[in-house]
């Protein structure tokens, strides 16, 4: 059976894509999720999250990314989700009761390797390049 993921890393043959299920992320703390994402992205991988992050986790992801940027090594991340978040549609009562849905497919990659070509409510089109 062929490998599902393209081989990335040092041999520079391709770009590795990690598709992380919502189930796997559900068992992690916020910082573990952020670490999982950034470790992958800093290795040059494209990380795709089935369920995305909560707004608070997105805020922390930006903050931690900023602390890790270093000249000529890591310039940050490109992150894309569908523009319309279900959070905006949830009523205050739903959010209060914890019924808020933040599930949204999210693509994250190294800023110098991924470029968004097009984005709308239903489609994210991105160009991924090798280092």
């Amino acid at each position: 059976m062929p490998e599902v993921q393209a081989k990335g890393g040092d041999d520079n043959e391709g770009v590795q894509i990690d598709l992380i299920s919502g189930e796997r992320m559900a068992g992690l703390t916020s910082m573990e999720k952020i670490r999982l994402i950034l470790d992958g992205v800093r290795d040059g991988n494209i990380v795709i999250l089935e369920d995305g992050l909560t707004p608070d986790e997105e805020s922390r992801l930006i903050e931690v990314t900023m602390t890790e940027i270093s000249p000529d090594e890591f310039t940050g991340i490109e992150i894309e989700t569908y523009p319309k978040s279900e959070t905006a549609d949830a009523s205050f009562l739903d959010r209060l009761m914890g019924k808020e849905s933040t599930k949204k497919l999210t693509v994250i990659g190294p800023a110098n390797q991924i470029e968004t070509l097009h984005k709308d409510e239903t489609l994210i089109s991105a160009l991924v390049s090798r280092k």
Binding site: T54, P55, D56, E58, S59, R60, I62, E63, T65, M66, T67, I69, P71, T75, G76, I77, E78, I79, E80, T81, P83, S85, T87, A88, F92, R95, E100, A111, N112, T116, K119, D120
Partner: protein
Amino acid sequence: MGLLTNLKDSISRAAATLFSEENPKRIGIYGPPNAGKTTLANRIARDWTGDAVGPESHVPHETRRARRKEDVEIERDGKTVTIDIVDTPGVTTKVDYEEFLDHDMEKDDAVRRSREATEGVAEAMHWLREDVDGVIYVLDSTEDPFTQVNTMLIGIIESQDLPVLILANKTDLEDSSIKRINDAFPQHETIPLSALEGDNMDEVYDKIAEYFG
């Protein structure tokens, strides 16, 4: 009964702290780099206190530290609304020092500026989670508002139930489109303005008083 009384007292105390005149609300000015946040902060501060908040520039990430201007008293319809304005660094998910080399900067200066910029963005995010009571979200109306940073930040602000006023800045420029911003964030009211020229500031102050007063 005692428990209920205690709860009622706690709520009253919390409400008194939130809304007392001794504690002006801290209003964060947020948005992507180069949207005109500092120009707006300076316009508001100059109009009501006579002082500026910080230097403005066309080079991205001119503001690399959050700056607070305290006790800005805005008068509307005979009432006074007192707020603290917090001008924050433009939020982004990436900073590459090579971008600054295009602005006639030496490598050492560009690297230092990019390092300060990353610290500033982290600081801005921290303020947003912990230390602001409301947000003025500034967008450059000549640019596409459908960016990931805008989508994420508006989502973060909404998730915290912070009052947010969206401003479509730079209406003095030919390519300005207020409709594009309205369409991107239909769940919020969009107020057009030119912070540089001072156009439509009366409506901006009316809305600040309405949202944050």
